[in-house]
């Protein structure tokens, strides 16, 4: 068995970006797309500060979250460990991009050229590849060179014709490529003779990219080293190492979670309400309209919308996006029939499917390993309870329901609000130490208005409806609107404002010749309190 991997020697790297440039040439990537790049990190504080250059890119993980989430099976893993993208399958949903904790994936929707304009320079025109537009792209470990080399009896990592361009170009001898499974390979020997780490190893993706930070001593034994202080030394965002706000999923993606949550919550509320009195078919249509609108919005965000409706179903084995789509496919006819015939039991089944849809959405976020504010398990309950609050709130607000139905639903809403608030608190707590400073800052600023206007106020309104029965419909509607709006706002904020990515970190600063080498740093993490 072969496992291709890369080793970056941080002691040698000087941050010259020759690998970055060389990768851009070999792979003809457009402006601002850098499958390989080198970060410029600082760790520590003046005057005890270290500056470190860290090559990053796709880590070709053994357990790649990008592949698991991919709904189209465009992202795959070869037997030799290289993670690939089939541009002809990819729908450009960018789910892989938010699932990657190494920010390795890019998506470019239209042709872009170095000097702008509608046509590129000759070299750009010569290398233009329309297949790459609207789909995910990333480092391939120059697999075409590797394959060419193997087919011609060459050794990747040793023979330049068979090696990745970045490795070939490295002027400091910092980048190495080879078979990690072969104990005699160049990279295995380096790993044997040096102390190394892998970035974000705690996330369990088993990256195939190792960083050398120190030579082992003569006996081949690791020296005592200072424990990495991963959460205490990050500084600033210069050098592009600190987490930044992901740009792959915007308000349209948020719209899917809003529409999906509200629609499926509404279906559940309808099912509950229909135990008391039959509701108009229009309510079911409204619920489906919300779900449909959400899906429509997120479809607008796909880079390849015409292949998306089919290819999105290709990976139900592991992708929550495929599953969400499949459940949606079941939900629409089922709910329609249930609503049309007004059958309570069928409606309950539809509501259960809607809950399944809502659960898929929640898990969809949780599987986004690249976004700390999403990947926490606590997000599942938050998304679920919020969907129910939104749906119930909407029904209360627009339902004009008979008093017993109304009273029952407002009570349910009050209970759901309490549950959502508790979910929020659990969610917030879960982020301590697991999300970057900027995400925490956003979440922190959300807490008070979310609690106050999204929970306390509607609960007070509901309570006042009990006391002042005459005003109940009005205050109830207001409470419903509050519950609904708060849910929408919360999701909008989580998807578009709190969605800072993982950023980059090093477990150790490297030694530099006869000195240095110590605790690492994680820029953008651990400074907020």
């Amino acid at each position: 068995m072969t496992r291709w991997g890369m080793v970056a020697d941080l002691e040698r790297c000087v941050g010259c970006q020759t690998c970055t440039a060389s990768c851009k040439h070999t792979n003809a990537t457009p402006p601002s797309v850098q499958w390989r790049k080198v970060l410029d990190l600082e760790v520590g504080a003046y005057p005890d500060v270290k500056r470190v250059f860290v090559p990053v890119g796709c880590m070709h993980c053994e357990d790649p979250p990008c592949m698991h989430v991919c709904p189209s099976t465009a992202t795959r893993q070869r037997a030799d460990g290289i993670v690939t993208i089939d541009y002809d399958l990819c729908i450009g949903c960018a789910y892989c991009a938010v699932a990657c904790p190494y920010q390795a994936r890019y998506k470019v929707n239209g042709p872009t050229f170095a000097y702008g304009g509608r046509a590129g320079m000759k070299n750009e025109a010569r290398r233009e590849d329309p297949a790459r537009l609207g789909v995910a792209q990333k480092c391939t470990f120059c697999s075409d060179r590797v394959d060419y080399g193997l087919a011609n009896g060459l050794t990747p990592g040793i023979d330049h014709e068979a090696s990745p361009a970045c490795v070939n170009s490295c002027i400091a001898g910092a980048l190495h490529f080879g078979d990690l499974k072969d104990p005699d390979s160049n990279v295995s020997r380096l790993l044997d003779t040096h102390q190394t780490f892998r970035m974000h190893a705690e996330l369990g993706t088993e990256p195939g990219f190792h960083y050398i930070w120190k030579r082992k001593n003569n006996a081949g034994i690791d020296d005592e080293v200072e424990a990495p202080s991963l959460f205490s030394t990050g500084i600033g965002n210069v050098g592009g190492a600190a987490p930044w706000l992901q740009q792959h999923w915007d308000w349209r993606a948020a719209g899917n979670f809003i529409g999906g949550g509200t629609g499926s919550g509404l279906l559940a509320a309808i099912a509950v309400a229909s135990f008391y009195a039959p509701l108009s078919f229009l309510y079911v249509l409204l619920a489906l309209a919300f779900v449909g609108a959400g899906l429509f919005l997120v479809w607008l965000e796909t880079g390849r919308p015409w292949r998306a409706p089919l290819n999105v179903f290709f990976n139900p084995q592991t992708s929550w996006m495929s599953r969400e789509s499949m459940v949606a496919g079941l939900l629409f006819p089922l709910a329609f029939v249930a609503g049309w015939f007004g059958t309570g039991p069928l409606l309950s089944v539809a509501a259960l499917v809607a809950m399944g849809f809502l659960y898929c959405q929640a898990r969809l976020l949780k599987a986004s390993k690249g976004i700390p504010a999403w990947r926490t398990p606590a997000i599942v309950r938050l998304i679920m309870t919020s969907g129910l609050c939104e749906g119930t709130g909407l029904l209360v607000a627009v339902g004009f329901l008979a008093p017993p139905v109304y009273a029952g639903l407002t009570t349910v809403l009050a209970v759901l609000l309490v549950l959502r608030l508790r979910s929020w608190r659990t969610y917030r707590k879960s982020l301590n130490g697991t999300a970057p400073d900027e995400a925490l800052r956003v979440i922190k600023t959300m807490s008070l208005p979310f609690g106050l206007f999204g929970h306390l106020l509607p609960i007070i309104l509901i309570a006042s409806g009990y006391l002042f029965v005459g005003a109940a419909p009005v205050v109830g509607a207001l409470a419903g609107i509050c519950a609904l709006a708060a849910g929408w706002w919360m999701k909008y904020m989580l998807v578009t404002k709190a969605s800072y990515n993982q950023g980059y970190a090093i477990n150790h600063t490297p030694e530099r010749g006869a000195g240095g080498g110590g605790a690492g740093g994680k820029p953008g993490w651990g400074m907020a309190s």
Binding site: K24, A45, Y46, R51, V52, Y115, D144, I171, G515
Partner: protein, 913 residues
């Protein structure tokens, strides 16, 4: 996955010499006639010190070729008014018309006389990038050679942005136009602001990476944590421009805190002037008969001429010289009888006594124990007494070196640093020996191709140096070029490089302000500009722009619009890097870490079709020669070697017929054949076709040639260290000459001609100069503003390449002004805030980049981006310190150099969004 050959295309070998640390050998992939990809030239791995790897700048060449902003036809100015705010109104013209216009102006100059009424050449030329344009200008040097006197003294950064003190004093003391550690053997490097990981090229980077992996320790002393600081074992955030104090304190530790036996006393006694006896007037005590400096011989216990066979020099004792002579300035002599003398060594010991680590600590803002520790580490790593065999010869092994960076190495204090660095090498016997501090090329001494061959004995037992004369008969009293290099700077010699190494800012300064008793400034009638952009790359750029706009006829070889050619009369688009033909020398020893085990030649060749109407530089040169009636002289210059190789040879004659016009290919085929002949003693005559296919041809180069020590040992010579008797005398003579001419405005510079450097408070010097010239309170400018090189841009002239901009953006600092995070917080400045940086001269704006790795009293602006005409670059909105740095005589040292720093203040204009 496809199994197709990813390299199914033509890979054409060529070179990149965009920066002084080149050339890099590369191949360019061509698909369907289009250049698409740069790769290392793997075939050169065996001969290239960095295995044929290529610097990031070379990857910009593909975009450079197809850049839509290129000027692709000759252009003529239609707006007679010139200035930054004037639209030049360039209109396309034919090559015939453009060349005729240039030739008409040149012919007019020739008709009026090659020199003007002030005695200055009517034709001037400015080239940038530390001489690298020569590798791109084909046979243009032959045209200039055929023309006659040229003023190459209008600098575009030379003297203030180079390693100026090192260039001059380095050549003087050890034939070291540039200095590098013997990195493959070195184990300990003290780097004072030297930024080898940014500016040392692929050889520097790869060698230092190998050295680190070997366990070499490098300590970086610099106000900010540069790329090189990042790659060093230790960073010492020293106060700007205080480096001489640190170095002096190191000398103090070695001389006053350690036993001298720990030093290399053998080297000190036999390879330096330490044992030379001094008279009371500060000159060597000389033997009355031979006029040779005296040493005290332990064997005979009496003074003997320094080169007496078998003499054992004594460094310290009471010396009573019965009869001796001191030779002062201008032939003045003193005869001494029974004179008590000191040796130069004793003088040195006495001189350095006050310069203790405690003293330096205050100046440098570095703890005493750090200074002392570093001095001792330096001594410990020197391995005094050890030897190594290099190609059969036993040589001292001293694996320690000191390197000096820009700003440390120019302007006031540069002399002190170079002297101290060279002396520290001498004290442990580490100058020009394996592992130690090496010079790597000569530019002022001759021949340029061999440091060893340039070593000729002086009468005092040192290497003779081609000083510009200061004696009454021979002093160049009337400057022959506008920067007066030969008049004011004896050390700058008189090689083809000397003008560019003179006080190049004086050529600009004196255009506006003529000092007393100095020829009236004149503008050159014709100014050629190539690969340089002084309007943004020198200091006080507003003033430079003003001067340039007054030049009557400027011819710019133009790739895109830029700030200097905005004021041009004619733009000539030459074929760029991947479009034109030229053969250059590679290998041997060149700048910095470019010392090879091979030497030979590499070809740059047209790889793709020329874009637009651009023309090969050689074609342009030939046309100009033809149109100015200089074809024969031009061909003659080529035959004599102006294209890099002498075509006439005793072995095989490759020379061109001087009466005929030759095509570009004919010329370079002859040069290629001559190169092959030179390398093979005539056995091989491979011409252009061979080089087109293979890209290069080399022969072995002896590693012994990396070291100058063997040559000195063979000739029995000494390094002129520590005592500067010669410079002292020259300074006195120069003072006499200038004063005789009524010139007193160079007096401060004359004070620098000291036998041993006396500490001067450099910070105070800067503060005083700024206060006096600008009527400001220096406390209003609390920061030192410095600059730093970046590998992506250094020397590249590539600010308009999008990909370079993109990848450079990954490195902090390219987008604004770097300042200390804590200090910024005190001032209410946040990351990315728009700030205004003001010096006493001017203001500029940019984004604040907050970093921990910079002193709280220092601001850093990387590179020099202040473009307003260059496409793409003018959109960067990045501050440049060039606009803020004044050109002041007060801040010009005796070599005519200034240091790239100024005092500044900073304030927020607009908070970051």
């Amino acid at each position: 996955m496809s199994k197709k050959d990813p390299q199914a295309r033509r890979d054409v070998p060529t070179y990149c010499y965009q920066c002084v640390s080149g050339p890099d050998l590369l191949t360019v992939g061509v698909e369907d006639g289009v250049a698409t990809e740069v790769q290392p030239n793997f075939d050169s791995a065996a001969v290239h010190p960095a295995a044929g790897k290529v610097c990031v700048k070379a990857y910009g060449l593909v975009q450079k070729t197809y850049n839509p902003h290129r000027i692709k036809t000759p252009m003529k100015r239609t707006n007679p008014k010139k200035g930054p705010n004037e639209d030049p109104g360039f209109v396309p013209v034919s090559w015939d018309e453009a060349l005729d216009l240039v030739a008409d102006n040149l012919n007019e100059c020739r008709a009026k006389g090659l020199k003007d009424e002030s005695g200055y050449p009517r034709v001037a030329a400015s080239f940038g990038g530390g001489g690298t344009p020569t590798s791109y200008m084909g046979t243009f040097p032959a045209f200039l050679g055929a023309w006659g006197p040229i003023d190459a003294g209008f600098g575009s950064g030379q003297g203030v942005k180079c390693y100026h003190s090192e260039h001059l004093y380095g050549e003087f003391w050890h034939r070291a136009f540039t200095v590098a550690p013997d990195t493959p053997l070195c184990e300990y490097v003290l780097s004072f602001g030297s930024n080898v990981e940014a500016s040392g090229g692929v050889c520097g980077v790869s060698r230092h990476a190998d050295a680190r992996a070997r366990g070499m320790k490098r300590v970086q002393l610099e106000p900010h944590l540069s790329i090189t600081g990042a790659c060093s074992a230790e960073w010492v955030p020293i106060r700007p421009k205080s480096d001489p104090a640190f170095l002096m304190a190191m000398i103090h530790v070695l001389l006053h805190e350690r036993k001298w036996e720990e030093l290399d006393l053998d080297f000190i006694k036999h390879r330096t002037s330490s044992p030379y006896l001094l008279g009371k007037f500060g000159y060597y005590m000389r033997d009355p008969e031979t006029r040779k400096p005296l040493i005290w011989d332990a064997n005979t216990d009496k003074p003997v001429p320094f080169d007496t066979p078998g003499a054992e020099p004594v460094l310290e004792a009471p010396f009573l010289v019965e009869h001796g002579i001191e030779e002062g300035a201008d032939g003045k002599e003193w005869e001494h009888v029974n004179e008590r003398c000191q040796t130069a060594w004793e003088k040195l010991v006495e001189h350095t006594k006050p310069y203790s680590p405690l003293w330096a600590s205050q100046i440098c803002d570095v703890p005493v124990k750090t200074i002392r520790r570093i001095a001792l580490e330096y001594l410990e790593h020197a391995r005094v007494g050890e030897t190594i065999e290099i190609e059969g010869r036993i040589l001292p092994l001293r694996p320690v070196a000191i390197t000096l960076g820009k700003t440390v190495n120019n302007g006031w204090g540069g002399f002190d640093c170079c002297w101290a660095r060279t002396l520290l090498a001498c004290l442990i016997g580490g100058l020009e020996v394996p592992g130690g501090t090496l010079g790597t090329t000569v530019r002022l001494n001759r021949p340029a191709t061999s440091r060893q061959a340039s070593v000729k004995p002086s009468r005092d037992g040192f290497m003779d140096y081609p000083m510009n004369p200061t004696d009454k008969e021979n002093w160049v009293s009337r400057p022959d070029v506008r920067n007066a290099n030969r008049t004011l700077i004896p050390l700058v010699a008189n090689s083809p490089w000397s003008q560019a190494l003179g006080p190049t800012h004086i050529a600009w300064m004196l255009q506006n302000d003529t000092p007393e008793n100095w020829p009236e400034p004149t503008l050159p009638d014709v100014w050629f500009v190539y690969r340089t952009n002084p309007v943004i790359s020198f200091w006080d750029t507003d003033s430079i722009a003003d001067t340039v706009s007054r030049f009557p006829f400027t011819v710019c070889f133009a790739y895109t619009a830029d700030e200097t050619n905005h004021m041009a009369d004619i733009l000539l688009p030459e074929c760029t890097d991947l479009e034109s033909l030229q053969l250059i020398r590679i290998g041997g020893t060149k700048y910095f870490e470019q010392y090879w085990d091979h030497q030979g030649f590499a070809l740059r060749q047209p790889i793709v079709e020329t874009q637009g109407e651009a023309r090969d530089f050689t074609w342009i040169a030939t046309e100009l020669a033809k149109r100015t009636g200089l074809l024969e002289a031009y061909n003659n210059a080529i035959n004599r070697g102006a294209a890099g190789v002498r075509l006439t040879s005793d072995v095989v004659d490759c020379s061109l017929d001087e009466g005929t016009e030759h095509s570009v290919e004919e010329i370079w085929d002859a040069v290629c054949r001559a190169a092959s002949v030179e390398m093979s003693d005539g056995k091989n005559q491979d011409g252009l076709d061979y080089y087109r296919e293979h890209g290069l041809k080399t022969i072995p180069y002896e590693r012994l040639n990396w070291y100058l020590y063997p040559e000195l040992e063979d000739q029995g010579l000494r390094f002129e260290m520590p005592y500067q008797e010669g410079l002292y005398r020259i300074g006195k003579q120069l003072a006499n000459r200038l004063h005789e001419s009524g010139i007193s405005w160079w007096d401060a510079q004359l004070d620098e001609y000291e036998p041993l450097p006396v500490w001067q408070d450099l910070a105070a010097l800067w503060e005083r100069a700024l206060e006096e010239n600008f009527d400001i309170d220096i406390n209003d400018f609390p920061f030192w503003l410095v600059t730093s090189r970046s590998m992506q841009y250094a020397w590249g002239g590539n600010a308009d390449i999008q990909m370079i901009r993109e990848v450079a953006s990954n490195i902090a600092g390219h987008g604004g002004v770097i300042m200390n995070t804590g200090r910024a917080a005190e001032l209410g400045i946040g990351q990315g805030d728009l700030v205004e940086i003001a010096s006493p001269l001017n203001t500029t704006r940019g984004r604040a980049i907050l970093r921990q790795g910079v002193r709280p009293d220092t601001l850093v602006m990387i590179g020099q981006f202040d473009h307003w005409a260059t496409p793409l670059a003018k959109t960067f909105d990045v501050p440049s310190m060039n606009k803020l740095t004044p050109m002041l005589l007060d801040l010009t040292d005796s070599t005519g150099s200034g240091a790239d720093l100024v005092r500044a203040t900073i304030r927020v204009v607009e908070k970051a969004p």
